[in-house]
Symmetry: C2
Subunit: 282 residues, 2 copies
């Protein structure tokens, strides 16, 4: 398969940006790669991972002439980067996308700056770990990637964006930015914040209980070890949908407590059986 | 290392009982092994796993002459089995233990029947899967095993029980049955029921969100696929400690919602950072 892109610029060489760099380098050795980071020291980490991209800390210069630009930074930093990109001599065929965990606020901040060159993406891949040291060329293999075109999105850039993510190993789902945020609140943001709630409710007051922990605790709270800075930004950017899901969790927890207090084992079994049936559809 | 036991009887050849049978057979080929199951058909599954134990559906006969008897059945069935064991011609040195996930109710039900021959155990190993098909000889390797002796427990059987679990690969923790139930409510029962709450709050009303699921949802809800019959019994048997933890989760969730509604990103980050710091102690 030929490279779908001439020059790809990645903003933010962390877990996601670094994994994209490794995957692009491996699959499309002819595509030129350019990496931007805020701090010049980031170049050392990039070289240590064997990435041979051009490196710059100038966001405007990084955009020049690229055919695909991908923002891999925390969502709250994207508007500032988009303003720098807008001021650059962009290629006529340039597409800008991102890998942020929220879409409505990102799309509404970036489209006024970048117009229809911007199409939102959200590959459902990541880890509780951060940084280029944890990047892997196969991070996106088998992952869902959610694309959020809007009515004005043109067919040609949309198809190029699909081709790119499929080449990274993703299967695609397309939906509006608003629908994205509601679905992802269900399947990603809710579980993340619930893992933090469970960790706190389990261990505040007696951290020694950790000595008894087995695989159940380890797995169900794994994501609570994720980066608080990154996830507080995600929670704030998807505030309404997340609140709505956490309120649903509050109602569900109240339902469970009512059953437990009543001592009705058959009802408790039914509650767990409903959760089991839903989980088994995965 | 010589076998610490002459004849071991396992009641209930499911994931835990089957894994014990495989581990005992592998490590102590000279120890006689006897398996009891409620249904005669269970023998086929035992043979299919290459276990060469004596098999019976007679709980009383299963107890005769054994030096170590281990109840690996759901907690609510243990008192009935203990009554059958009590009526058997038990060896003078017989120890009875169990692998149940709750201890106060099990110990208080079984000690009147079996006296100080009974000492509670709880190896922190398992899976959301059930049945002898999923049993593994190394299931207990590296797991914590909680032992719950009482004031009257004699030194010799206690040491034999320690030796047995250490030979299975466990590291030991000793505590009272009541302390066990409180600790395990924190580290095992709370995460299990919270995984069910998260699954229901995520998917009730839109199971199609599963198409967007990644590793975070998969791991944080894995245990929600566990056996509802087994876990409703555990919840009912540890009702007070579990209610107390779920009420703590309710307060923590209310705290989180207050922060989210206020829009204070710094406070949200601090909430997540506290959870991260606790989780990283694992």
């Amino acid at each position: 398969m030929p490279s779908p892109e001439r020059l790809i610029t990645l903003y933010g060489p962390g877990l996601l940006g670094g994994s994209l760099a490794l995957a692009i380098q491996q699959r499309f050795p002819q595509t030129c790669l350019r990496l931007w980071a805020r701090r010049p020291e980031a170049e050392d980490g990039i070289r240590a991972r064997g990435i041979t991209a051009e490196f710059t800390t100038d966001a405007r210069a990084a955009a020049q002439g690229a055919s695909l630009l991908i923002l891999c930074t925390p969502v709250e930093t994207m508007a500032t980067l988009a303003a720098a990109i807008q001021s650059a001599p962009l290629a006529a065929d340039a597409i800008v996308t991102d890998v942020g965990s929220v879409k409505a606020s990102v799309v509404s901040a970036l489209q006024p700056l970048l117009g229809h060159a911007f199409i939102g993406s959200h590959p459902m891949a990541g880890s509780e770990k951060t940084g280029i040291e944890t990047a892997r060329a196969d991070l996106f293999e088998g992952a869902a990637c959610l694309l959020t075109p809007v009515a004005e999105t043109a067919a040609e850039p949309m198809q190029r964006l699909r081709d790119f993510w499929m080449a990274m190993g993703c299967h695609l789902l397309e939906m509006s930015p608003a629908e994205h945020d509601v679905k992802v609140a269900r399947i990603s943001h809710l579980p993340h914040f619930m893992a933090a709630v469970t960790t706190l409710a389990a261990l505040r007051g007696d951290v020694s209980a950790l000595k008894c922990a087995a695989g159940g605790f380890r797995d169900s709270t794994r994501v609570a070890a994720g980066d608080p800075g990154l996830w507080s930004g995600i929670g704030a950017a998807n505030q309404q949908a997340l609140i709505s899901r956490l309120e649903e969790a509050q109602r569900t927890l109240a339902e469970l407590l009512l059953i437990l207090r009543s001592g009705q084992v058959a009802e408790l079994q039914q509650f767990l059986a409903e959760a089991q049936a839903l989980r088994k559809q995965l």
